[in-house]
Structures are given as structure tokens and as C-alpha cells.
Symmetry: C2
Subunit: 431 residues, 2 copies
């Protein structure tokens, strides 16, 4: 294509599944991209650790280099797809300092160092794009940053980890217990050999930190995110939830609380009629509650090479257009800087299951315990315990209650002589 | 707030429910908006036909004027919320010619004259924003135009009319017939006294034209959209669908077909497991299938004053930032200009219900008719007709078939001596 502009030089750092796909799309669709941008996008090189390693045959060998720094310094736009903190962080810093705009899909880096990198970009008049770092291909950053820029977001709830959503889905549809569903997910490649990052909620917590930063224009450190994984969710709990009209999802929830915000990740009961309940398998979704816009949801594949590559290319077109025309980019210099508060500040509903002595007066004594902690009970269902030990199983749904009050209540219940065991405590959202 | 910039003058045309809400938000949130934009947004006036009409008390009387043209000529950004074609079109043209950027929520105008107005804006270096014109508060234009700019969209399916979605929902949950559900929707204010624009699919067709233009970078005239409403959908059809694992939705579908595109609006069967099936009541959603990004969905309130106002304010913040910094806006000058083809070019599945003579050999003769038109049958279910007239009811689900072939087949079936009646023909999507 003829163009009034010299080609825009694009450097790629990393040639994993996403990197190779981005390179392929850049080469294959170069004409269409040039039309959309208004200038040619030239893939100036692909930085890899070992240039001798075997590559997919469709990428020209001459593009590969192990000299990332020279490549960065000779490019207009740098796409970082190597993952991890170092050298990604140093290379992005070098790129921004050299005047390049940067695109990254690196959620660990953005969760840990996003605010400082965004601030550096702002000082230098450069842009840092990271749509692919949260929710894979789901466009969530532009809607949160731009479309809702004149609104006030009160709450964001996301299914942001495909592995755990797949496992919970399997548990629900087959009645399998956690370990069996995990093993199956590992065999199918949906879960890694060491599944800790997924099943303990670390990955979701990184994304919660990014979502909270985006929604509330505030810096949220990942350490401030309350985190519970799904390892203690069992088949009985899921079955009980289903019968009561609920499903169990691992949610990342970020919400305004007073003058601050709380970000948290934990298994959650949501009603089957809630849009998030229909998000199955490895899909992701982000549900937003805004003052004027009301309830919104963004749904799509949360991971995968082609899907993430699509998000990277969307950022690339934006970056390239801005490179030509100047003007405001996707980053947002406004910091409301709401303080990240502890989870004890949250008010929500809870479902609590208890094994108690099946004796007259026990229910009254437990109800009194709830009342004395200011936790109001909505419903109580009593059934015989499956252990056949003259115990009864109580399933209690509360009204809105304070998380801190509830913690104290549960500690008290555990010491109550009539309570044999607190089986589970799970938060309920989306009613 | 102190700022290096003079205030940005914002004119509002129209003070209906959306207009009044936009004015209110502009006045109430002026400090926060100024922070986000980097300059003050000054509501310079509100053009109305009758300045003496009763207004809500919270809007200062001095803002109202009946001299729209003077107001437009003295403003940096013009927000058009009067609806209809004229004078909206002339005023938007005047605003663009005067150098102002324009924001509109006017879907009738964008569907009828969007391409020419966008081209005018482009020639003048101005911007025309219309996020609120399609899908109410759902951010759909930025995702389609920007986030997926490096991808290839193959198909868009939307529930874009809340009234019909509410009626179909009521029919499904209560077993009511169309007329009863419509009457109830009218009593509740979900449907207008003259419901034609909604129930006959005209409103959805306007939105389909806009979605097709956006997704395929092509001009699509609303007259090219194939349109069928929901007036012929009956309770039995919905019940039969439900039993087979489907729900009936009025969908706006835009897809690539060969080198062109087809846009169509009609009642559609979709599997209950499809994300669009979970879109209930007056909510809207747009489901996108892209080459790399896969399946995406955007969900939210499709209409309503506050929701539409949120989308308008999002556009306003974008327009104001661009007003300060210059650079690329939301509009897209790239036109692929795929041709809008007739619906007969589409391939899809169909469910056909027929009343036939309950005689030996009839099924064979009908199966032969299908085969001779190249329509392959997936399943046939036979049941006794409720009329008790020695007739059988056949419910036939086809494999993928060409719409044109199917039309010929149905014409032939209607003349077949063994066929008493073709009860219904409905397309099936999302499998």
C-alpha cells in the first residue's frame, strides 16, 4: 500500500504461542492492517533467548534476534509477550524511555508494577496498552476507561480464571469432587501440573488488582486483595447450592466501600438467573454495576493464543493510529486513589452450614448467637446429618451482614458446645 | 478546578428523559468530569422547542433556548438528543460544518444517514460519536471499532430490542400468547400504544444496519435488512422449543457471506446453553464471533434515560479529551464496503412444523421433497395433531441449508396434497 508515512516499526519480545500468533497475523494481514492504521506496520524483529531454537516454519528466520535492547531502541512500538517480571519490566522501561509506545499481555507484571509503569509512560508522553493482560480477548479496558468515563462504577464482579471455572463446572455437571475434577482438567490440559496459581486464586487475585485499579482509578496492590481458592469446595456444597437455585463460582469482586474499596477473590454463591451463572467452561466474564449504566457484562475467552493475540492486535492498531495522529491514548492519568480496605469492611450475605446436636433448644441457642453478633437470619433449613450420629445439619442464609461481625460469629459458633462442626461459610452475591 | 484550558462549551439539543439526565449529570458531576477531561465542561445551553414548557426544577431556566442554531454555532461539542430525522440531521450537519464534534443517541438517524454524516465529519476533521444509538448503555462501538481492529469479525448476533425480548420472555415463563403478553407489556409501559416499530422488527432492523456497518466497515442501508417481527410467534411454538432445549429470541444477525454480507432480523431458535439465551426481560446483548478472539458477548440495559445518558457522557469525555489533545477519534474512515446481499444467500438450520395427512407413505413423500431441494433432514418428530382431524404434526429439524432452497421447498410443501398446513418455519442459530 502507498502511504504518506514511513512504516511504523514494531518489535516483538517473545515468540511463545501468543507471540508467534501475533507475528503471523502481522505478516499475513499486513495490507488490511495498513489500511486500518493509515501506514504500514513493519515487524522489525522478534527477540528470543535462543535464536537457534526450532521455530514454526512460517516465520522468517531473519526476524529472530537475541539482542532485545538494540531491537527495542530501533522500534516505534514494542510488544512484550515474554511474561514474568524480569527482564519484561526492564525492557518495557527501556522502550518507554526511548520514546516507544508499549503493548503487553503480562498480567503478573501489570498487577505488580502497573501503576509505576503507567506513571512513567505518562511522564514521558508515551502509552502503555494492556488489554490482553486481563480477560484475554474480552475488551474490558476500553469500556471501563472510556465508555464509562462519565459514569460511576460501584462494583465489578468477574469470572477471570478459566481453569477454576472449568473445574467448578465439571463438579456441578458430573457430581465429581474437587480432586477428581482437577485431575481431569490436568489430563485435558485445562489445568497445569502445579495448579496452585489457579486453584488457590493467585491468578484471579492479580486480575482483581488490575480490575480494581481500572474501575476505581486507584492503585491496588495485589497483596491487598483478599484471596480464597476453590480447594475446599466440595460436591455436596455444589449440590446443595443447585437445589436452592444457586451455582458456585470463583469470583473476583471489587467494590466501593465507604471512601475506599475492597478487592476480594473467593468461591461465591450466585443465583442461577444471574448472567454470570451462564458463563460455563473455560469462558470468562466481567460484570459491572455502574450508577447510570446499570448492569453490564462482558463475556469471552479468557485465555488462549489466538484470543490473546486478537487483543494485542487491537492495542497495536490503537497505538499505531496514535503514533501517526498524536492525541489521547488509552491510559488514564486520573487517580482517584481510593484506599484498599480489608475484607472485614464488606457487607454481604452468607450461607453457613453447621452440624449441631439434634436436641431441643439448640436452634434457639444458635439463633441467639447470630442475633448477638448483629447477623440477621433470612432462612434456616434443618436436615438429618448424613453421619447418622444424632446430629442435625443446619443451612442458614443470612441477610446482609458485615464480614467482620460474621468472622466473630463463626469463631463463637466453633466454640459453642452444641455445634459439632462449622461445615462451610460461603458468601452470596448477585441477588 | 484550575485548568490551563478555557472551558469546553457543550450544547444540548433536546430535554427529554435522556437530555434532562445528561444535563443533570453534567451539572452535578462537573468537578469529577473536569478532572477526567483536563478542562471544565460548560453546559452552554439546552435547545428546546418551547422554552415556556414545564421543566424539572433542578435545571436552571436560563439554560433553555429556542434558538438552536445560535447555540450550535457557539459550542465546541454538540449533543443531539431530539430524535427523528429532521431537524436532527440539519442541526448535526450545521454543527459539523461549524467545527464542533457531535454526539448523538439517534438510532433512526444513524441507520438512515450514518454513512453520509460520518463521511462529512471525516472530511471536516470532526468526530461523530453515537455509542448511545445502539444497545443503550452497552459499550459496543469501541469494542467493535477499536478492540477488534486487528481481528476479523465473521458474525454478530444481537438481542437489540428490549420490548420484544420482554414479550417473548413473558410468553415463555407464563405460557401466554402473543396478544396477551403484548397487552401486559403495554400496561406496564414496556411497549408503546402503537407497538409496530418494536413487534414488527423495524427498531431491530435499524440497529442491525448500524451493527453491520460497524462490524464490517461497510455501508448497510436499513432497507437491505431482511425483517420479520414476532407477531406470528405463538405459545405452542415456544413450548415446543423449550422441550427440545431451545428458546425463541428476536435476533438481529449480521454475517459475512461470500464477498458480501447479509443483515437480517427474525425470530430465532437458540439453544438454552447459548449465552444469548440467558438475556432476559428488557436487557440487550450483542454476541460477536471473530476470527481470533472467538466468541464475545456484551450485555446490558438496552434503553432507559440514565443508561443512555451514561453512554452519552462516555462519548462526551472522549470528545472533550480529543478536543484538547487532537488525534484519532472513534470514527473509522476505513470502508471495506461489502455488498449487502439478499437473505436468500444465507445458509442456516431450520425447524419446520407441518400438519400432514396421517397416512402410510406421507412421511416418505415429504422426505423426498426435502431431498429434491437439497435440504438435509437432521431429525423428524411426529405427534398427533391437536385438531383431532386424523392429521399428524411433523417437527423437522434440518442440517445447514440454503435459505433460497428452503423458500422453494416451503412453497412446494404448501402445494403438496398430503400437507394440510405449514404451521411454522423458524431459523435455528448458535449451535
Amino acid at each position: 500500500m502507498q502511504s504518506a508515512y514511513r512504516p511504523i516499526r514494531v518489535a516483538l519480545l517473545g515468540a511463545g504461542s501468543v507471540g508467534a500468533q501475533v507475528a503471523r497475523l502481522l505478516l499475513e494481514n499486513s495490507e488490511e492492517l495498513a489500511k486500518r492504521v493509515g501506514a504500514e506496520l513493519e515487524l522489525s524483529g522478534i527477540a528470543v533467548r535462543d535464536t537457534k531454537a526450532k521455530r514454526s516454519a512460517d516465520l522468517p528466520a531473519k526476524l529472530f534476534t537475541d539482542d532485545a535492547e538494540s531491537l527495542i531502541l530501533s522500534s516505534d512500538i514494542v510488544i512484550e509477550l515474554i511474561g514474568g517480571i524480569e527482564p519484561a519490566r526492564s525492557w518495557i522501561t527501556l522502550a518507554l524511555n526511548s520514546g516507544a509506545d508499549v503493548i503487553t499481555a503480562n498480567k503478573a507484571l501489570i498487577a505488580a508494577h502497573g501503576p509505576e509503569l503507567l506513571e512513567l509512560a505518562e511522564q514521558l508522553g508515551a502509552q502503555l496498552y494492556y488489554e490482553a493482560a486481563v480477560g484475554g480477548a474480552i475488551p474490558i479496558i476500553r469500556p471501563l476507561r472510556e465508555s464509562l468515563a462519565g459514569d460511576r462504577i460501584n462494583r465489578v464482579m468477574g469470572i477471570v480464571n478459566g481453569t477454576t471455572n472449568y473445574i467448578l463446572d465439571q463438579m456441578e455437571s458430573t457430581g465429581a469432587d474437587f480432586q477428581d475434577a482437577l485431575s481431569e482438567a490436568q489430563e485435558l490440559g485445562y489445568a497445569e501440573a502445579d495448579p496452585t496459581a489457579d486453584v488457590e486464586g493467585f491468578d484471579a487475585a492479580s486480575k482483581a488488582a488490575i480490575l480494581a485499579s481500572l474501575a476505581f482509578h486507584s492503585e491496588v496492590a495485589v497483596e491487598k486483595v483478599h484471596r480464597e481458592g476453590i480447594t475446599s469446595v466440595n460436591a455436596l456444597q455444589i449440590e446443595t447450592a443447585r437445589q436452592a437455585g444457586y451455582t458456585v463460582k470463583l469470583l473476583a469482586i471489587c467494590e466501593r466501600v465507604g471512601d475506599g474499596l475492597v478487592a476480594r477473590v473467593h468461591p461465591t454463591l450466585i443465583p442461577l438467573s444471574h448472567p454470570l451463572a451462564a458463563v460455563r467452561g473455560a469462558y470468562n466474564a466481567v460484570f459491572v454495576e455502574a450508577e447510570s449504566a446499570g448492569r453490564l457484562m462482558f463475556y469471552g475467552a479468557g485465555a488462549g493464543g489466538p484470543e490473546t493475540a486478537s487483543a494485542v492486535l487491537g492495542d497495536l492498531v490503537s497505538a499505531a493510529k496514535r503514533h501517526l495522529a498524536g492525541g489521547p491514548g488509552i491510559s488514564d492519568s486520573t487517580h482517584a486513589n481510593l484506599e484498599a480496605l480489608p475484607v472485614q469492611r464488606v457487607n454481604t450475605r452468607f450461607q453457613i452450614t453447621l452440624e449441631v446436636d439434634d436436641q431441643p433448644g439448640v436452634l434457639a441457642s444458635i439463633a441467639k448467637e447470630f442475633a448477638s453478633h448483629g447477623v440477621s437470619v433470612e432462612t434456616v433449613a434443618q436436615s438429618a446429618s448424613s453421619d447418622g450420629n444424632n446430629a442435625a445439619l443446619l443451612t442458614i442464609m443470612t441477610h446482609m451482614a458485615n464480614e467482620g461481625d460474621l468472622e466473630e460469629l463463626v469463631a463463637k459458633l466453633e466454640k459453642n458446645a452444641s455445634v459439632l462442626r462449622v461445615n462451610s461459610v460461603i458468601r452470596v452475591e448477585g441477588i
